[in-house]
Symmetry: C2
Subunit: 149 residues, 2 copies
């Protein structure tokens, strides 16, 4: 039931990009330094997010990454699914990678896991990066610390 480091980093990077949404392309190096994420690892993550259409990139000098759409149109669920593949606790209740389990008809566990998946996705698919920005800003104000996720 654990969030992978990959998804964790992805969420942090996405929040960073959301906080800088109007500033145009942001370089990997900057995100990597500010969020303390291994740069090469982050490259792969951002590349994945670009391939699924969550990010846009610009190559060459002055290049970088930016959100492909407004932060209020991207949810945490979108990002986690892109990286971890699925959110469901067992494949037989997964939308992403559904696989019939052998005794589906009489499997009471399936029913509960369906409830779990729905509970989780309700949280993650309702939470946008616009929300995350708002929360982050509130946290900064309340703690009076400089911004560093």
């Amino acid at each position: 039931m654990k969030l992978s480091k990959k998804s964790d980093y992805a969420l942090r990077a996405m929040i960073y990009l959301s906080m800088n949404y109007q500033k145009g392309a942001v370089q990997i190096k900057e995100i990597s330094a500010k969020e303390r994420i291994p740069q090469k690892f982050l490259e792969n993550i951002l590349l994945t997010l670009r391939k699924v259409g969550i990010l846009n990139s610009k190559m060459g000098l002055k290049g970088g990454y930016a959100l492909a759409r407004s932060p209020d149109l991207i949810t945490l669920g979108d990002v986690i699914r892109a990286l971890d593949g699925t959110i469901a606790p067992v494949d037989c209740v997964s939308q992403m990678s559904y696989r019939k389990c052998s005794e589906e008809i009489t499997c009471a566990i399936r029913g509960v896991m369906l409830d779990v998946r729905n509970a989780v996705t309700e949280v993650l698919d309702a939470m946008t990066f616009a929300d995350m920005c708002k929360r982050t800003k509130e946290l900064i104000e309340n703690s009076a610390l400089t911004y560093s996720i």
Copy 2:
């Protein structure tokens, strides 16, 4: 976000033991055969559940395992925590294995993951093995198949 095979097997074994609650000790061999769980693997699982007080065991001839208390007093959460150690998606929101994350004060991700953990535990801690028995029996009646999870 995946339920481990270990927990999956544990849940199946626990349902089996719950369905046979009044029959006294049930042998590993029987559970292993009926639920198609590798016997040696199941041994470890049941041993763990005994150590945390969910199961009682009886050694020697005519020995076996039985629930340590009534099925309506054991939840799925109890079992999953015993085996997977924690339910929380990140350690900084875990009751079981809490670890402060470096930027706790300004970490908006933490807030969401707390919501996720609460959503999951609400489902798993509310669901008892008495409920699971009821559900299983309903599923059997509706499908008119012999009982095999």
